[in-house]
């Protein structure tokens, strides 16, 4: 029972972390909470669903297609809804309001075109379980956790090692100076949204496979937001740690206390962090030396 709970917690935490990474990336570069991220996750899940049910593709291709689809949607989202605000140097509050508008718009677009039905992915993995030390562990859960870990590690390497990655981190420090190094900011921001969208695609498919696909499924990103705040908005290792902590807390509360109280605990955690440690566990606060 205990081990099963741990694995479930890690898998949910891994999905939270995948979503939190997208939040954190955008937040750290543009300094606003992109509440349309949930809608991009939802659309990513629908893209995956279409590939799985209409084209009967296997899991790997579904995942790849969803990553590409959600990535492109995220870039379009930025070009259509945020870039003109950025160009006019609007305060980040405006960007956040625009993001909320996008979320509502995209959700209703799905209602109006695809409908409000709940869809399930075909069973890619059956309900395979392995028995570890007397408890049965779902392969899907273990796989989701490992994949999330791998993907976030890959992103970490990209951000640390590549020329574009270093430019993203430089932009986080100082956008204007970044452009004075010869970086085309519009292109850099498009890359950031492509990455965030790609992670949204992965999260969407995992969520859809584990649960169901429906227009408001993106609101689970509330939890990703909590995870990002716990870890420290803008920090990648923080997003991972925050996601895993939240996933574990939720699963343990559901299992050992009461599933009704799960969200009470989650949001209490959010408030506690905002009050006592607004920078999160690994939040960035560095001062320039004058």
């Amino acid at each position: 029972m205990f081990l099963q709970t741990v694995i479930t917690g890690l898998s949910i935490g891994g999905i939270y972390a995948l979503m939190a990474v997208g939040y954190s990336l955008v937040f750290s570069v543009l300094n606003f909470s992109n509440f349309a991220h949930g809608a991009v996750i939802m659309l990513g899940a629908y893209v995956g669903l279409a590939l799985a049910t209409k084209l009967n593709l296997g899991f790997g291709l579904v995942l790849a297609g969803s990553v590409a689809g959600a990535g492109i949607i995220a870039v379009l989202n930025e070009k259509l809804a945020y870039s003109s605000l950025r160009g006019r140097k609007a305060p980040s509050l405006y960007l956040m309001i625009s993001a909320m508008g996008c979320a509502v718009f995209l959700e209703n677009l799905v209602y109006a075109t695809i409908g409000s039905r709940f869809y399930a992915f075909p069973e890619f993995f059956g309900r395979q379980v392995v028995t570890l030390w007397g408890s049965s562990v779902s392969l899907l859960d273990g796989g989701a956790f490992l994949f999330a870990l791998l993907a976030i590690f890959g992103l970490h390497l990209f951000i640390r090692r590549t020329r574009t990655g270093i430019a993203i981190r430089a932009g986080v420090c100082d956008m204007t100076m970044c452009s004075l190094m010869g970086v085309d900011l519009n292109r850099l921001i498009a890359v950031v949204f492509l990455l965030a969208g790609g992670f949204a695609g992965v999260a969407g498919v995992f969520l859809g496979v584990k649960y169901l696909v429906y227009p408001t499924m993106g609101w689970v990103t509330n939890k990703a937001y909590i995870a990002a705040v716990i870890g420290g908005l803008g920090s990648l290792p923080g997003a991972l740690a925050g996601g895993l902590i939240l996933g574990m807390v939720e699963t343990f509360v559901s299992t050992y206390v009461s599933s009704v109280l799960r969200d009470v605990f989650s949001f209490t955690l959010l408030i506690a962090f905002l009050v006592w440690r607004p920078n999160g566990l690994m939040g960035i606060d560095s001062e320039d030396k004058v």
Partner: protein
């Protein structure tokens, strides 16, 4: 050919008329200094020439072609800015800051060569390569800021208050470096508040007051002008 030609430049911040019609040329291989008190509009001119602040009137030509609108396009023409207060990428290491400076360069060899050139000017940076730039001392930060700008291999270098907050001995070292950079073929436009030393090494100097030039001439002459000494150079 003129490296820079500024004609009747105006800049507004909302209703504030910060730069009110300044004109000046910068010839290739020159050091030109703009001197003036706080708020005279010196930094505004620099940010405008770098493409960050849009001008509200006038013309700027860089190496004969009209100035583009975006900073990264200005950089592509061979111009680099060392801004006031340095504005390093403080969370990045010294090495990463230098790599960002070379963002437009293609090859690894080219980047290594540019880095070696920076170490010739500032040997201390080699020892600091993996240190976060925010943890450097003020003087080291200034060295890194200048190096970061040089990494792109600029033909025109804009220096905004390169000696701000530095000890007198470092001020002299920075000026020597600026002269050396010019001797290596880079055109320099410099802005300074405490400017005797800057004017001494300048081919020409301009005195900026409330957005307009009130005096200009060869740098050393201005540095010795009693009226200017009283007003701007601290006696």
């Amino acid at each position: 050919m003129k490296a820079l030609l500024v004609e009747d430049l105006h800049v507004h911040y909302g209703t504030i008329h910060a730069v009110q019609g300044v004109s000046f040329p910068v010839e290739e291989g020159e050091i030109v200094s703009i001197v003036g008190s706080n708020g005279a509009g010196k930094s505004t001119i620099m940010w405008t020439l770098a493409g960050v602040v849009p001008p509200s009137g006038g013309r700027v030509a860089i190496k004969g072609s009209p100035m583009p609108r975006k900073p990264h396009e200005v950089v592509a023409l061979g111009l680099a800015l060392v801004p006031e207060r340095r504005r390093l990428f403080s969370a990045l290491t010294v090495r990463e800051n230098l790599l960002m400076g070379a963002y437009r360069r293609a090859g690894g060899d080219e980047i290594e060569a540019a880095m070696e050139r920076c170490f010739e000017l500032f040997p201390i940076l080699r020892e600091r390569l993996s240190q976060r730039s925010g943890t450097l001392s003020g003087g080291e930060q200034q060295m890194l800021a200048i190096s970061r700008a040089l990494m792109s291999g600029p033909e025109i270098l804009l220096l905004d208050e390169p000696t701000l907050g530095l000890a007198p001995i470092l001020v002299e070292a920075v000026m020597e470096t600026v002269a050396r950079i010019r001797d290596e073929g880079v055109t320099v436009l410099m802005v300074e508040q405490n400017a005797t030393q800057a004017l001494e090494i300048s081919d020409r100097g301009y005195i900026l007051e409330a957005g307009v030039f009130v005096k200009s001439g060869p740098g050393p002459d201005l540095a010795r002008d009693p009226e200017i000494r009283r007003a701007y150079l601290g006696g």
